[in-house]
Structures are given as structure tokens and as C-alpha cells.
């Protein structure tokens, strides 16, 4: 199950006269390439990048946003988590930890969203994911780490079979929701003196890549009433305006609802 993703053409080909058939017609590609250069600031790179991802994985979503922001084309390799495809011999060979997301960049294989984001940041510096100011960087690291170690792991508890056998799913869900809300309340406090249009100012940085998928999940999977978190809700509205974010969301992925 592989999809050649050419999101730049889908997003930016509005002014193309001809309908673009993905990856086929050279003339159209050249015309739309020039449209892309006019319409976006980051250049789309021909890339040997592959992302092993699941539509439902919020950590994969973080990486998808980063790839979009940096204008990096990649091949989307869907991994069906419910069918256990992460344990297939093929995937295990590539990624012995059986984790998504896994990024393949030529000979380099990187696992785990934070490591992938830092790798992308080092190798493809366009559209930096971290601000130059150290104080702001620290805020971004804190928000990112807090989401990935204090909020997102709790979601996985819902799926953990061990606890599912013992506890009714309603009770578990409400307990997870309670802790998620506590986490969001803390994030609001962390960011309130730093946020502007986005989490740490007027530009998108690392914190936003972690917040967007988490808020999305809270709204769509855990029924969290986000109106009690006005800052996060406002940030979410801002993310909804950005194609790089929207194109990364679960509903837009090739394997949406197929697993």
C-alpha cells in the first residue's frame, strides 16, 4: 500500500489550466512547478524521503506537518496498526522497534517523532522548526516534551489491552479525558505569556507541531470540551488556516479509516 504523494501539486495547482495527473505529464509538471515557486516560499525538493505512518497516529501527524512546512515531498507508506502491520517482517527489518512514524531518507532511518523532527531540522533547514532565541526555544522544547510525555502516552492507555481487560472502557476513557484536561490546563498556563498567533509567538514552531495533533485528537476522539481552553482553541483555529497543518491531519491521509 504505497501512495506517491505530491501534495504541492494538489494544493498549489489551483491556477493550473490543465488537470494534473499525478507524476505523469512533464509539460504540466513544469508549468505547475513554476506555479509552486510563485505560490510558496519553500522549494519542493525531489526527495527519497519515505514516511511510514498511520493516519490515526498523532506522532506521525507531527512529522507530516514538519515535512509539509519544509516543503519536502515524501512517499507515504501506510502501516495498518490494527492489523499489526508494524510487526510484519518487512517493517520489523526496517524499524526493529515497530514504531510509527519511521522516516527513511536514503540510507538513514529515523524512528520516533522528536528524533525525526530534529533530524529534519538539521538536514533541511528551510522553514526552521525552532526560533533563534534560546528562551523561546526552551518554551518550544517544554511544550513539545510535555505533550509527548504527559498527555499523548495516556491516550495509548486506552488502547493498551492490559488495562482494557480489567476496566470498563467508559471509565477508562473518562479517566484519560480527565488527565488530558489537566494537561491542557497546564499547557495554557505555560504558554499564556508567550503565545501570540501561534504557541510561542507569531511564527509556527515546534510546539505547534505537537499541539495541533493533540488538540485534534482531544476534539475528535476524546470529546474534550476545548472551550474551557481558550488559548489552545484559538491556536487550533490558527492551525486550521494553514494548509501544511490541514494536509497532515488524519482525515487527509491515504489510509484514513482503512485501519
Amino acid at each position: 500500500m504505497t501512495w506517491q504523494v505530491n501534495r504541492g501539486k494538489i494544493v498549489y495547482s489551483v491556477s493550473c489550466i490543465f488537470v494534473v495527473f499525478l507524476g505523469h505529464l512533464e509539460e504540466d509538471r513544469e508549468q505547475c512547478d513554476s506555479e509552486q515557486r510563485v505560490n510558496q516560499t519553500a522549494t519542493m525538493e525531489e526527495s527519497k524521503l519515505k514516511l511510514y505512518s498511520s493516519w490515526r497516529s498523532s506522532s506521525s501527524c507531527r512529522v507530516r506537518i514538519a515535512l509539509n512546512l519544509k516543503g519536502l515531498k515524501y512517499e507515504y507508506k501506510a502501516v495498518n496498526l490494527l492489523k499489526g502491520e508494524q510487526f510484519s517482517p518487512e517493517f520489523s527489518k526496517l524499524s526493529p522497534l515497530n514504531y510509527v512514524p519511521t522516516l527513511v531518507d536514503g540510507d538513514m532511518i529515523v524512528v520516533e517523532s522528536f528524533a525525526i523532527l530534529m533530524y529534519l531540522e538539521d538536514k533541511y533547514p528551510q522553514h526552521p522548526l525552532l526560533p533563534p532565541d534560546l528562551k523561546k526555544r526552551a518554551i518550544n522544547y517544554q511544550a513539545a516534551s510535555f505533550v509527548s510525555s504527559s498527555i499523548q502516552p495516556l491516550q495509548n492507555l486506552v488502547e493498551q489491552k492490559y488495562i482494557a481487560e480489567e476496566v470498563g472502557s467508559d471509565e477508562k476513557l473518562s479517566w484519560v479525558k480527565h488527565h488530558m484536561e489537566k494537561g491542557f490546563a497546564a499547557l495554557e498556563k505555560l504558554l499564556k505569556d508567550h503565545a501570540a498567533k501561534y504557541a510561542s509567538g507569531d511564527e509556527v514552531f515546534l510546539a505547534d507541531l505537537f499541539l495541533a495533533p493533540q488538540i485534534h485528537d482531544a476534539l475528535t476522539r476524546f470529546n474534550v470540551d476545548m472551550t474551557q481552553f481558550s488559548l489552545l482553541l484559538r491556536l487550533n483555529d490558527a492551525y486550521n488556516e494553514l494548509p501544511a497543518f490541514q494536509d497532515a491531519m488524519p482525515e487527509k491521509q491515504p489510509d484514513y479509516l482503512q485501519s
Binding site: Y141, S150, W175
Partner: protein
């Protein structure tokens, strides 16, 4: 040791997350003022501490007018502000490995065995279930780490120098062994790394029992 007298670390002797930062500060030769936050007494919820860190966690590092909470964020901050004895190697593969190993500990292991979750499990199912839960999640994490590092580890996690992976691994291994009775001989790579770290004066100075607020 070079001194940076404005560094303040809010810590608790038994917190494995604070332990990581103590170890890292020692590795970088950074002096700091130790301020105890007694988690048992709930001091992390005091209005004063909440003002400093609304997340109510230790560790918190204060460096002049910069306040950083969360051990992972603190280590990244320290590494950028005080580059001596780098916590991340320059080689991209090894760099990524260190970040991965650190995140496995900080996102997949420690959060699932933090006190609030253990209390929930114990309240619901009793102490035996709690122990099973700890063992299950700790061993799962260590299995992943063993796989991740077995082809790269030398004296330390990713070779012959101490880096961020070691800073996360050593306290986690210590806690697993001493507090949760995990049999580390099942994880020879991790066990070897832990033994190497135990020989370091910087690690020895960071252990819980040597902290000012240790209750022995």
C-alpha cells in the same frame, strides 16, 4: 568545575527526572543551587512553586530570568547554552539514537509508571497488580532500548562517550533495579551501560542518597 552561580535546580531526591538533570549538570561541570521540593508533602502544589512551574513537576531549572521545566527540555536547553561536554554527538545517526533512547524513557516508560497512575492501579486492583503493571511497562521499554542500542553501545549507550541516552538510561535503570526489582541481567546491553555510568563521579554525585534532601 566552572561555576554558573545563577543556576538553580528545583529537585526532589527520589525523582528520576530530577536525577537526569543532576547527572547532566555534573557532566557539564555546572555548579548549581539545590532547592528541594518535597513531593511526598505535596510541595509541588504550593502557590509559590505553581507560579514558577504551572505544570507542578520537578525538575525545574532557573537560569537567570529563564525558567525551564521538564527534564528533556532542560537537557536540550543546557546543551545549547553550555556546549561543553556535549550531550548530543554530531553524527546524525548517533544523534538521532540518543534522542530516540531518551524519548523511549521519557515518553514510553516513566509516564506509565508515574505515581498518579500507579496509585490508580493500586486503588483499583491492589498492590500485586501495581507491581505487574510496573514490570510489564518497564520491561517493554527496556526490550525496545536493548534492541535499539545493542549494535551501537560501547562503554556507553552509543559508543565511548557519555551522551543524553546515558543520562536518561542510568537513573531509569537504577530505579527499575532498586525500586521495582527488575532483573536487569535480561538486558545485557543496558546493564553494561548502567555499570559504566555507575563508575563515573558525575553519576555518583547525582544519586538520590547524596542529595541534600535525602531521607535515609
Amino acid at each position: 568545575m566552572s561555576s554558573s552561580s545563577k543556576l538553580v535546580l528545583y529537585s526532589y531526591w527520589q525523582s528520576s527526572c530530577a536525577w537526569r538533570v543532576r547527572f547532566a549538570l555534573n557532566l557539564k561541570g555546572l555548579a548549581y543551587e539545590y532547592r528541594s521540593v518535597n513531593l511526598r508533602k505535596g510541595e509541588q502544589f504550593s502557590p509559590e512553586f505553581k507560579k514558577l512551574n504551572p505544570l507542578c513537576f520537578v525538575p525545574v531549572l532557573v537560569d537567570g530570568d529563564i525558567v525551564v521545566s521538564d527534564s528533556f527540555a532542560i537537557l536540550l536547553y543546557l546543551n545549547e547554552k553550555y556546549p561543553q561536554n556535549a550531550l548530543l554527538p554530531s553524527d546524525p545517526q548517533l544523534r538521532a539514537l540518543n534522542l530516540q533512547a531518551s524519548n523511549i524513557v521519557s515518553s514510553s516508560m516513566q509516564p506509565l509508571i508515574m505515581q498518579s497512575i500507579l496509585k490508580y492501579i493500586e486503588d483499583k486492583f491492589g498492590p500485586a497488580e501495581r507491581q505487574l503493571w510496573v514490570r510489564h511497562n518497564t520491561e517493554k521499554g527496556f526490550q525496545a532500548l536493548e534492541k535499539l542500542l545493542k549494535d551501537y553501545a560501547g562503554t556507553y549507550a552509543t559508543g565511548e562517550e557519555v551522551y543524553m541516552a546515558d543520562v536518561f538510561l542510568a537513573p531509569q535503570t537504577a530505579v527499575a533495579e532498586m525500586r521495582f526489582n527488575i532483573d536487569m541481567s535480561k538486558f545485557p546491553t543496558l546493564n553494561g551501560i548502567y555499570k559504566s555510568c555507575k563508575d563515573l563521579p558525575e553519576f555518583q554525585a547525582s544519586v538520590p542518597e547524596r542529595q541534600p534532601d535525602a531521607e535515609l
